[in-house]
Each structure stands twice: as structure tokens, then as C-alpha cells.
């Protein structure tokens, strides 16, 4: 009875990715392909110290010996790592201040709704903008510096704060941790660096906005966040890319370190280009994110809303080493059309009385596949450890798949581990109920999906929560009717 015709659905699907434009700007790119020379070139381009070059080379050689992981429930043609550019940056020199940023770039970020002009910026949010391989602007640096907070591109931190970078880089995700982390360690070009000194509560939300623009370019950013004793910070990241027919590789590494009583809240709204309805194009989002709760009573909280990317492979994890430390993972993963997501978390309980909470909401529509994969591991010394896991899947239509793959390893008898899982469909009677109250079919789906995700969305900072709600609705446009 629905009058939504095939044509309108296609129209909606085509227009739904509104960040699909590309920016025409003169770029500097290194030759395609990966070799020791390219690694050296990237390091030289950035004027890096020898220790970092050596670390990159060690990572590169480790990577050469490794194989792409095959255990995830994702399928894609083999990636030709020699057909990618590993470094692409706007050709103009890195700006010293916001006034020097290329107007074309400023326009790009305006269009994306990320104002880099401080006066126009959202009050209380400092932004680092990463365009392809380099950071192009960081706002509110002076305000932050007054509080003792360091927030800058990681390439700059290597120069300005080498002792900090050297101490922590690779300390949570070692260079040879996995295939994509090793690749990132060899070729990472930029990303954000955050350091919150002892006892400081970061006075504003920090945010990094990642944009892939150049064709055939991999983006390999590296983010490192350190919160010293008693420090706290809330950090947000957002991602978009132009619509391109080729698949693009994004292999990032994020490392978080929380010392005694420190708190880090890391929120992601991932909206990389997902490919078209037939599965052509889109980002391969192969990301390693891990946080170490090193200090007692420290807390790391991951919140993610994953709506984009052709393939998502990511497991933001917490190593709960300090006694009484807390790990949290709140996730909404939406797949539509031909998208594939294999995402979840790892909670490794080492310290006593450590607790972890996992709330995962998977939504599958179209012909997509959505997998939750999670590990809860209680080590012998983790007396009194507790975990609560809830995995809910929502199916829209009958061509999609939802899969839940929980692993639980408990080696301490005093630990408590709980796992709850549900799978449901948006029922026809729910849709009809909403429509009989005046809501369009699309709005009804949006309302039901947002309700389903509420436990996760409420963990997001306010401005992001509103964005995320809209994004969920847009991602599912054309999925019913």
C-alpha cells in the first residue's frame, strides 16, 4: 500500500550522503606504493628524529611478514597495497595560524558544518582538522595552553614534546600488534595528540575532524591521548569522505592512557562514505583503538556511532590494569545496502575490582551484514571483577544479517560476567501504529531506531547526540517501503 515508488527510494539513496563532494586543491603526493623508501620519505618530509624513523621501519618490516586478518565476517576483493598513495597533503606549507589556512580548505570544513573560525566555532569545542594526511588547523590552542592542556597535530608533538611521544607512542598498541596497526605505524602521517596534566579537567570538549579527499589515498592517522593522575577529558571525532567509485583505505590507530583516577571519554561519529546501493566504492575502515587504564580507579569510556564505511573492522578496547578501573563501550552500528560491519570491543580485566560495561546496538537494513564481536577476559588476579554485556540487534527487511559473537574467558572464580542478547525486527504493527499517528514511514523508522539506540545515544555529548540522531535516520533512508 506504500506509495513510495522504487524511483523515490533510489533518489533518496543517491542523495543521502551529503558529504560526498570533493575539494579541488593542489596536492602534494608521493609516488604510489609502499617501500622502505616511502617510509623514509614520509619521515624525512616531517623532519622526524631518528628514533621515530627506526620505529617506522621496524613496523614496516613487521608488516611485511604479517598477513591480513581473515577471521572477521567481512568480504572484499584483495587490497593492492602497491596501488595506494601513502602520503597526500595540501601543497601549501603547513599554516602557522588560522589566518594562513587555505580558504578552499576553510570552505570545505564550513560545508561539513565544522567551523574552524574560532569566533564562529561551537562554544566550548576545540577542533583539530585532518585533511588527507595532515592536520590543517587546530582551534583554541591558546585557551587550552593556559590550562596546561596540549592539543596539537601529532607531527608537531613529535617536535615540541618528543619525550612524551616517545614514552607513550606504541605503548598501548605495539607496532606489531596486528596487520593494520603495523601498516599504520609504518606510514602514519598525522593525527591528534592530547596531553592533560595532573589534576587538570580539560576546560572544553576536544574534537578532531577527519576528511579523506584525495583519490586512491589511504588515510593513516594516529591519535594519542594521555590523561595524567586525576585528569579528565572528553574527546570527539567525526569522519567524512567524498563519494568515489574506488574503495579507499582508512587504517587508523588510537591509543589512550589513563593514570590514577583519570577519566577519558572518547566519542566517535563515523560517517565515511559507505559506497552506493550496489556496494560500489566506499571506505574500508580498518581501525585499532585501545585504551589502557593504567592507574587505580581510572576510567575509559568509548562511545561510537558507526553509520558509514563500506566495511568497518574495529574493536575499541580497554585494558583494565589499575585496581578499581572502569571500562565502558557504547556502540551503535548501522549497516544498509551492501555495507559490512564487524565491530565490538575487548575488555581485559587485570586489576582487582575492575568493572566493564558493554552496550552494543546493531541495526541492519538492505543487504547488509552486521556483526558484534567482543571479548571479555578476566585474568587470574582480577578478583571481584565484573562485566555486564548487552547486545541487541535490530533487523529491517529480510535480506540483511545480524550476528553476535561473544567470547568470554574467565580465570577468576570471584568474577561476575553477564551477557544479554536480543534480536528483533521492526514490526509491521509498530510502523503502522506510528503512521496512523501521522508519521511518514521514514520518520517512523527513525523514531523506532532512535528509541532502540537510546541507551547509547545518551552517552554522547549533547551536540553530537543530535547529529547522530539525524544521521541514523538518513543512513536508513529508503530501507523500507
Amino acid at each position: 500500500m506504500s506509495t513510495t515508488t522504487e524511483a523515490t527510494i533510489q533518489e533518496l539513496a543517491a542523495q543521502k550522503y551529503k558529504y560526498g563532494f570533493s575539494t579541488d586543491i593542489l596536492m602534494e603526493e608521493f609516488p604510489k606504493g609502499l617501500s622502505e623508501d616511502i617510509v623514509r620519505l614520509i619521515s624525512a618530509k616531517k623532519g622526524e628524529p631518528t628514533w621515530l624513523l627506526e620505529w617506522r621501519l621496524k613496523s614496516y618490516h613487521a608488516w611485511l611478514k604479517m598477513e591480513e586478518p581473515e577471521w572477521a565476517r567481512v568480504h572484499h576483493p584483495p587490497i593492492d597495497y602497491d596501488d595506494l598513495y601513502y602520503y597526500a597533503a595540501p601543497a601549501k606549507p603547513v599554516p602557522k595560524s588560522l589566518d594562513e589556512v587555505d580558504p578552499e580548505l576553510l570552505k570545505t570544513y564550513e560545508k561539513l558544518g565544522i567551523p574552524l573560525n574560532e569566533r564562529a566555532a561551537l562554544a566550548g569545542v576545540a577542533v583539530d582538522a585532518v585533511f588527507d594526511s595532515v592536520s590543517v588547523a587546530t582551534t583554541f590552542r591558546d585557551t587550552l595552553a593556559k590550562a596546561g592542556v596540549i592539543f596539537c597535530p601529532i607531527s608537531e608533538a613529535v617536535k615540541e614534546h618528543p619525550e612524551l611521544v616517545r614514552q607513550y607512542l606504541g605503548s598501548v598498541v605495539p607496532a606489531g600488534d596486528n596487520y593494520f596497526a603495523a601498516l599504520n605505524s609504518a606510514v602514519f602521517s598525522d593525527g591528534s595528540f592530547v596531553f592533560i596534566p595532573k589534576g587538570v579537567r580539560c576546560p572544553m570538549e576536544l574534537s578532531t575532524y577527519f576528511r579523506i579527499n584525495a583519490r586512491n589515498t589511504g588515510q593513516f592517522e594516529r591519535t594519542l591521548i594521555i590523561a595524567e593522575d586525576g585528569a579528565s577529558v572528553s574527546y570527539l571525532e567525526g569522519c567524512t569522505a567524498p563519494m568515489r567509485d574506488e574503495n579507499q583505505l582508512h587504517a587508523a590507530v588510537v591509543e589512550l592512557v589513563a593514570m590514577d583516577e583519570a577519566k577519558i571519554k572518547y566519542s566517535t561519529v563515523q560517517n565515511w562514505y559507505p559506497g552506493d546501493a550496489e556496494g560500489k566504492g566506499g571506505i574500508y575502515n580498518f581501525v585499532t583503538k585501545r585504551g589502557a587504564c593504567r592507574g587505580k580507579n581510572s576510567k575509559i569510556s568509548w562511545t561510537q556511532v558507526e553509520t558509514g564505511s563500506a566495511i568497518t573492522w574495529k574493536y575499541p578496547s580497554c585494558i583494565l590494569q589499575g585496581d578499581g578501573s572502569v571500562g565502558e563501550f557504547y556502540s551503535v552500528a548501522v549497516t544498509n545496502n551492501r555495507q559490512q560491519a564487524d565491530t565490538g570491543t575487548k575488555m581485559i580485566h587485570i586489576g582487582k575490582n575492575t568493572t566493564s560495561t558493554i552496550i552494543s546496538k546493531g541495526i541492519s537494513a538492505g543487504h547488509s551484514n552486521n556483526t558484534y564481536r567482543g571479548l571479555v577476559k578476566i585474568m587470574p588476579g582480577a578478583s571481584g571483577a565484573r562485566n555486564f554485556t548487552q547486545c541487541d540487534s535490530l533487523l529491517i527487511g529480510d535480506q540483511c544479517g545480524a550476528h553476535t559473537v561473544p567470547y568470554i574467558e574467565n580465570r577468576n572464580a570471584s568474577a561476575k560476567v553477564e551477557h544479554e542478547a536480543t534480536t528483533s525486527k521492526i514490526a509491521e504493527d509498530q510502523l503502522f501504529y506510528c503512521r496512523s499517528r501521522g508519521l511518514s514511514e521514514e520518520d517512523a523508522v527513525g523514531l523506532i531506531v532512535n528509541g532502540f539506540c537510546k541507551d547509547v545515544l545518551k552517552e554522547l555529548p549533547m551536540e553530537f547526540a543530535v547529529e547522530a540522531q539525524k544521521l541514523l535516520a538518513v543512513s536508513l533512508e529508503g530501507s523500507v517501503g
Partner: protein
């Protein structure tokens, strides 16, 4: 005015409505009674546009407009409201948010301004009070964990806020105790005016003690087999539906 003319409808191969003809002028309340399986719920779903019901003949005009071609949400915008026999649960969706989204969707379709949060809350609180409900009703998730009576009251709250021109109550009285029944009746009676009309589908006569209908129709075997004044309901209560299908 609602005009149902020779309405035939089927689910799959089974013909349920076999030529229903019925007119409800503005300002009137009509009751439809009848045995189980007579097609009462089918009639309410066909009128409100649920998927899965195929209209094979006849037409339905609401204020002169053929509504059978319309999507359910457009029928809602013309002022049609169905109070469900089994109200549906929407986990995680707050009642106030749902009501405001509905009201504003309808207002938008009618070209009216949307209500902001403050104006809406004032309206909703007033309605909650009038229906003798607790205010936390607005904060709870739509029908989740509601008792049977609370679900029906929630339908009345929606009706009070959406202010339809035509309300269809599909066995809203089933499973209600006498107090809840009075509240449902109060919900309908408070909307009564020369523009408002209602179609009350019920299996029992007792709701009609509180909402006195202008007409009572008996639906049996997919057709209206008898129509009469309010007293017909009492007669049916005494004699039952036996023998009506043959009539």
C-alpha cells in the same frame, strides 16, 4: 462526514467485508456491534489504511475525499484517528516525544505551525490532568510496561491531543474495569461537538452506557445486518447475536 459505500475487502483469499454501507454525519457517534469474526477490526484497519487488506470494491469518502488511496499518515492528517484494540509498544521512545512528533507531523501536513516544546508540554499536561493520569505518563516509553488499562488510557491521551474529526475506537473497552471505562467515555464525550464524529466498535453494550450513540449498527458476516437507535444495543445484550447473520 464519513461515507462507506458497498465496501468489500479481503485478507489473502478470505473475503471479510462483503459490502458494508454506512454513513456517519458530523457530530454523530455510531456504534458497531457484532459477534467475533464479523469483520469489525478489519473495518477499522481498512479505514485507517493498514497494509495487508485488499479493497476489492466500494469506496470510502471522508468529507468528500476518497481516503482509500491515501497512506495512513495522510489519513491521520485529514483528521482520522484509530484507537487501537492492542496499542503497540515502542521501546526507548518517550511518550511526550512521540506525541509531539505526531502532533507536529500532522500540523505540518495541514500547513500549520509546529508547536514548540513549551507550548506542547502545556497542552500535554492539561490533557494528562483531564484524563486523571499521573504526569510521569509523559516520561515513560510508549506503552512499554503499561497495564492493559494504561495502554487504553494512553490511546485516549493521544486522541485528546491530536483532536481528530473522526475517531474509530476498536474495542477500546475490552479488558477495562469500570473506572477505566468511564475514563475512555470521558475522553470521547469531551470531544463531542458538531464537527466531531466517532465510530465505536464494541463487543459489549456496557461502554454505551457511558457514551450514548446516535446509532447502533450490527455487523455480521461482513455486512451491516441491522441498524437502529441506542436502544438496539440493549436489545442485543438481552437476545445475543444468534440468528442475525441470516437476517
Amino acid at each position: 462526514m464519513l461515507e462507506i459505500k458497498n465496501l468489500h475487502a479481503r485478507i489473502g483469499d478470505a473475503e471479510i467485508l462483503k459490502g458494508v454501507t454506512l454513513t456517519i454525519p458530523d457530530g454523530e457517534i455510531h456504534a458497531i456491534m457484532g459477534p467475533n469474526g464479523a469483520g469489525k477490526s478489519t473495518l477499522s484497519y481498512v479505514l485507517s489504511g493498514r497494509d495487508g487488506y485488499e479493497v476489492t470494491d466500494g469506496e470510502v469518502l471522508f468529507n468528500g475525499e476518497n481516503i482509500l488511496e491515501m497512506d495512513p499518515e495522510d489519513r491521520a492528517a485529514t483528521g482520522l484517528f484509530l484507537a487501537f484494540q492492542y496499542p503497540v509498544e515502542l521501546p526507548g521512545v518517550g511518550n511526550a516525544n512521540f506525541l509531539r512528533t505526531s502532533l507536529n507531523a500532522i500540523r505540518r501536513k495541514r500547513g500549520e505551525d509546529e508547536l514548540d516544546a513549551v507550548a506542547f508540554l502545556k497542552l500535554a499536561r492539561g490533557a494528562v490532568k483531564q484524563l486523571a493520569m499521573k504526569e510521569d505518563f509523559l516520561k515513560r516509553n510508549v506503552n512499554v510496561g503499561f497495564s492493559g488499562g494504561e495502554k487504553k488510557r494512553n490511546e485516549m491521551l493521544q486522541m485528546a491531543i491530536l483532536k481528530p474529526h473522526l475517531a474509530i475506537l476498536d474495542e477500546t473497552d475490552s479488558g477495562l474495569d469500570i473506572d477505566a471505562l468511564k475514563i475512555v467515555a470521558e475522553g470521547v464525550n469531551s470531544l463531542r461537538d458538531e464537527k466531531f464524529s466517532a465510530l465505536i466498535i464494541t463487543h459489549y453494550q456496557r461502554l454505551l452506557d457511558y457514551i450514548v450513540p446516535d446509532m447502533v449498527h450490527v455487523l455480521a458476516g461482513g455486512k451491516i445486518v441491522r441498524s437502529g437507535p441506542a436502544s438496539l444495543a440493549l436489545e442485543l445484550e438481552a437476545s445475543g447475536y444468534a440468528g442475525l447473520e441470516a437476517a
